[in-house]
Amino acid sequence: MDAPALPVTLESPESWQVAGPRLRTATEESTWVRWLLVGSTLLFLTLVLFVPLAAIFAEALRKGWEAYFASFDNANFWAAVRLTFLATGISVPANLIFGVAASWAIAKFDFRGKSLLITLIDLPFAVSPVVSGLIYVLLFGMTGWLGPWLATNDIQIIFAVPGIVLATIFVTFPFVARELIPLMQEQGSEEEQAAISLGANGWQTFFRVTLPNVKWALLYGVILSTARAMGEFGAVSVVSGHIRGKTNTLPLHIEVLYNEYNFVAAFAVASLLTLLALVTLVLKTTLEWRIQRDLEEASRSV
């Protein structure tokens, strides 16, 4: 063994640099390995993402644009659109208010049961959507806990719009809070303390300091829960009752069309949901960039 094989010498950094290229650095792979990795990633993405996405539009347009647009000329379709927007329109603001309140409490205050609250917020992520639907059937169904009481008072919750809204709220529950908590924790409560010591009351502090600091993350959470609310299938399917033109949301309407051999219409409606998802994706990416900046600013100021 030749001892000075490594040209690294303490006295001259230049010689180390000159000799450098002869050694392969740890992060540099040979060309074929790089192409193999990039290629297999692209292949995988093509197979599981791009091809199915393209297939939706190809199937929807298989019989031409006329057949595509004819799919939307249907009373049950518009009823499904209205119901989907109604469920989204109620569940998203509800989760917005809850999400802000919960993450504010968690990030800015210390109290007993805080970790329990965090766990509860994550619960809808962990529970299968079908189970989330069944929870409401067990609670509000005729054989459930509250069913008989609801029936005597003529209140219909499951197999009607309220049940669908409740199920949607449940599955979109964590999105806003989960986005806000890390950012708020990172930001700390110094700015709020400063505001209060300068004489601001609670609401002023909240609206002028806390809320502006998290606005991008909040919007991000809202967009995510909107997307999920519109696309939710499992939980809504369980509580819907599948009454055409009444309790079918867009995803359920797609299932009905598909099951009736109406493949063009099924994929046409699916393409609408896909377009909504793509819009969401663009908004989401833009916001991610903004949130990143907010986070960097927060950590710089610490």
Partner: protein
Amino acid sequence: MKSISSFSAFTLLLALLPLVGGCGSSTAANKSGAPAAASSASGSKTPVTLLNVSYDPTRELYEEFNSDFAKHYQEETGTPVTIEQSHGGAGKQARAVIDGLKADVVTLAIAYDIDQIAELTGLFPKDWQKRLDNNSCPYTSTIVFLVRAGNPKQIKDWDDLVRDGVEVITPNPKTSGGARYNYLGAWGYALKKFGNDEQKARDFVKKLYEHVPVLGSGARDSTTTFVQREQGDVLITWENEALLALKELGAEKFEIVVPSVSILAEPPVTVVDKNAAAHGAQEVAEAYLKYLYSPAGQRLAAKHFYRPSLKEQADPEDLKRFAEIEMFNVDEVFGGWPEAQAKHFNDGGIFDVIQEEIASSK
């Protein structure tokens, strides 16, 4: 720069919130507007809405039947009727009615599911099946096989389903009425073949389910698995469902195979008295079911591939599509639905045990 982009994004937020909220309020406005418009159109009589909770393959039948009945009823009585439909596996649908889905009439695959509703909710009397002719079955059907064109696996009878390399598609008997007929059809065939040897019948059915790669939730679910996703070699299904698949998807792609013996499927109907009475729809609901037995209803049933209970009412051309087939019924071979259900399909029944055995042997 920062102020411009944050301003634009913030206006986005402002634009988004009223949009989301606005959709809700516009729907609410629609809702309150709808009854007003409807009542002005009806004149003297108040319109009635009927909810028919049905099983999976009846979608096309009831779509046509409903508009036909609505026209007929308005001509007869002057009352406008809107009929709402819900479809799914029969067991699942019965469960939904038990859990509080406000069905005015149920038109399900098997009597047992309707018995369950009567038993658990008391919404209508337990002897409901005596209220209409032919055990409250306006139409019947049977179980046949659907195979791919040219019958590449040469499937001719129940025996061929358990041959090596044959994949069988059938739904889950727990949620689907049709699937229970499929199961009992196979069992009945095996009893006949093996001289009423219960153990051999059980082995045959177990072997059959070893050939099933996936259990769908309802008949239609399994049909799309077979025809659209092209899984499996043979689909065990309702005769009406098989004939409809041929019509919808092309007779050149599939063939129907009629087994040597099959089971008579009797899908019954009944009014859910208390639900219908609660919103004044009892009369309409009864007229609706009676209309199924009328010449018009029977003709429509035959047109949509159900065997009409009053053959003379149907179009003879439609009747030609039904093959001559030797059939046994649930009462003769299994002692009626309550017994068949308890023995085979309830929790811990033979189907569950078979499924466990198959799962543990894999």
